[in-house]
């Protein structure tokens, strides 16, 4: 597949935005600015950016509790996402959702879910809608390895298979669900092996290689757009931090985490860009500086944003207000 400099730099920037956003989120959570539960995406950027780079703006994604990366990669504005994490009125969900429930339908983010596996049927419904309306849009379900033990995953992929729905099931296999290693809760060797049971192609790629993810996703997206049905795309990855902020992480050794950090998708692409002459060190540094400025602005925006009005807590249960 031909991949040009512009696309490569765009992917670099995309991954760096997520990484820097998460680094700041970690600090802000520790400093008490961000309440609730926070699950960081650092280390897994290659997946969200590789997949979303193969999508159009009018395609839709379903996200997870570890969803900041998906939403940023799909084009969510970091200002409104950060304001949401702060619980402010200007947040993309007006402070009602928070880290685990980010959505922005305007850019194709159908929403994150605090229930593991909760968004998989919903985004399958988006694919059903596209097929019903005869559009050529595509849906992407993001979920973790742990989620593939939920009935919602199995039922959804089977529905998509029998109806040839235009959807990608993208498993972010970071090898752990909280403290539970995937090998202890799954007998088949790979998540991709599960596809066979549903008559769907199952592919495993290195999630730390954003270009490989992009290429595999592009093929699957093309298949879906042509009406040839779903693909299960397993991306092998790992998280740099604990399951959530506050997790002691004792189930992984220091060496495992160090090893994981070595496989960083951002460093890897940066090296590729320089080695292959796509970009100079200076160009890369300029991108990073620009991103740091953008995130600083987002934080300032969130910090200065007003709190929601208490009475708004009763709004938006129904379209026709009655409460």
């Amino acid at each position: 597949m031909e991949i040009n400099k512009e696309k490569l730099l765009e992917m670099y920037r995309g991954m760096f935005v997520i990484r820097h956003f998460e680094t700041k989120t970690k600090e802000l959570f520790a400093g008490g600015k961000i309440p609730g539960f926070v699950h960081l995406y650092s280390g897994e950027e290659g997946v969200a950016v590789g997949v979303c780079s193969a999508l159009r703006k009018d395609d839709y994604i379903g996200s997870t509790h570890r969803g900041h990366g998906h939403c940023i990669a799909k084009g969510g504005d970091v200002k409104y996402i950060m304001a949401e994490l702060y619980g402010r009125e200007t947040g993309c969900c007006r402070g009602k959702g928070g880290s685990m429930h980010i959505a922005d339908f305007d850019v194709g983010i159908m929403g994150a879910s605090g229930i593991v596996g909760g968004s998989i049927p919903l985004i399958t419904g988006a694919a059903l809608h596209f097929k019903y309306k005869e559009t050529d849009q595509v849906a992407v379900a993001f979920f973790g390895d742990g989620a593939t033990n939920q009935g919602s995953f199995h039922e959804s992929i089977n529905l998509a298979a029998i109806w040839d729905l235009p959807i990608l099931y993208v498993c972010e296999n970071n090898k752990y669900a909280e403290s539970t290693s995937i090998s202890s809760v799954m007998r088949v060797k790979t998540v991709a092996d599960r596809a066979e049971a549903y008559g769907v192609p199952g592919i495993t790629v290195d999630g730390n290689d954003v270009v490989a993810v992009y290429e595999a996703a592009s093929d699957a997206v093309e298949r879906a757009r042509k009406g040839k049905g779903p693909t299960l795309l397993e991306c092998e990855t790992c998280r740099h931090h604990g399951h959530f902020e506050g997790d002691s992480g004792t189930y992984r050794t220091k060496e495992m985490v160090e090893e994981c950090k070595k496989r960083c998708p951002i460093k890897r692409l940066g090296k590729f860009l320089e080695d292959e002459g796509f970009a100079t060190k200076q160009e890369i540094e300029d991108i990073e500086k620009d991103v740091e400025r953008e995130i600083a602005e987002a934080i300032e925006f969130a910090d200065k944003s007003p709190w929601p009005k208490p009475e708004d807590a009763l709004k938006d249960v129904f379209v026709t207000p009655y409460y």
Binding site: P35, K96, G98, G114, G146, Y323
Partner: protein, 331 residues
């Protein structure tokens, strides 16, 4: 009895450990119980003592393992299964609503299902709409579940031990804001029967019924009110199925006024049930309309400002008590 203070979370661990030592049939099952010791440490150390056989770590498959718990219980095991947060009940809904609690009845009373489900409830942590529900009203509404909702370490331990020994399905609700609170609990073995309310504070001006976290808010409100000369009686039912109606009714007969404080949603919730019982059984004693201080029927919002706006607090309790104590019939 020896005086000793322990954390709520330690009370849970002690009860589990003691019952596992006492009865081979008791085992634990759920997500991340072994190394993590459950999300808030409720099972920490238990795997070290009892090993793989007695502590099963499950995949994220709530319908599967809760149903399997009920099935194993039907043949004589006594599983204590963790549903990490009550909000996840929907996934296991089929087994929680249609199977476990109905089996005995459907099969003519010829078998039993001695399973316990432990689950986290409650708001207060900005955990948003998928991790903050109380939802015990829904469980209590369905036939077949006994429901235990402790408010302090002493009750937490004594009631969990009873729940494990009980021959019926019991749902045991752990409020996340209470797990790190301390309270007295003796070293010596004890159990607390299901269906006995605790009178947390005596008073004559109004009866306030509250559960779990809300007991603490009601007691704080009681302190403030007593400074103004209003003395409320605070009752903690501790279990809602079975429910100790008698203690509540007797209190209302004494005070003539009832305020129900409930963190669960107001519509068709426990607060409605308790109000109806008192209206039916103590109508003649009432000197004022019953007041409910409950969470409005909206999903629990994320932002602390919004969460605070929906969860009952001391101010709302004080206001409700003053309304009932100052009530004058219009005719």
């Amino acid at each position: 009895m020896s005086k000793r203070e322990i954390l709520f979370v330690e009370a849970i661990r002690e009860a589990l450990r003691e019952e596992m030592r006492r009865d081979e049939a008791v085992f634990l099952m759920g997500e991340d119980l072994r190394i993590w010791g459950a999300p808030l440490g409720q099972t920490k150390g238990i795997w070290d003592e009892f090993g793989d056989k007695r502590v099963l770590d499950t995949p994220i498959s709530e319908m599967g393992f809760i149903g399997a718990g009920a099935g194993a219980a039907a043949l004589g095991s006594r599983p204590v299964v963790e549903l990490m947060f009550i909000d996840f009940f929907g996934i296991a809904g089929e087994q929680i609503f249609n199977q476990a609690p109905k089996l005995r009845y459907m099969f003519g009373g010829r078998m039993k299902v001695p399973m316990v489900i432990r689950t986290l409830i409650g708001a207060g942590m900005s955990a948003a709409a998928h991790h903050s529900s109380s939802a015990y009203s829904i469980i209590a509404h369905m036939p077949g579940w006994k429901c235990v909702i402790p408010s302090n370490p002493y009750d937490a331990k004594g009631l969990l031990k009873t729940a494990i020994r009980d021959d019926d399905p019991v749902m045991y609700f752990e409020h996340k804001m209470l797990l790190n609170t301390k309270g007295e609990a003796p070293e010596e073995e004890y159990t607390i029967p299901l269906g006995e309310a605790a009178i947390k504070r005596e008073g004559e001006d109004a009866t306030v019924v509250a559960l779990a976290w809300m007991v603490h808010k009601a007691l704080k409100a009681a302190d403030t009110l007593s400074e103004e000369g209003i003395n409320i009686e605070v009752i903690d039912p501790r279990t809602i199925v079975p429910l100790d109606k008698k203690t509540i009714i007797n209190s209302v007969k004494k005070t003539g006024r009832l305020v129900v404080v409930d963190e669960d949603h107001e519509r068709c919730g426990l607060s409605a049930e308790l109000s109806a019982i008192v209206a039916e059984e103590a109508f003649d004693s009432l000197k004022a309309p019953i007041k409910r201080v409950a969470t409005p029927t909206v999903p629990i919002p994320f932002s602390p400002v919004l969460e605070d706006a929906v969860i009952p607090n001391e101010d709302r309790i004080i206001k409700a008590v003053k309304e009932v104590t100052s009530y004058k019939a219009s005719k």
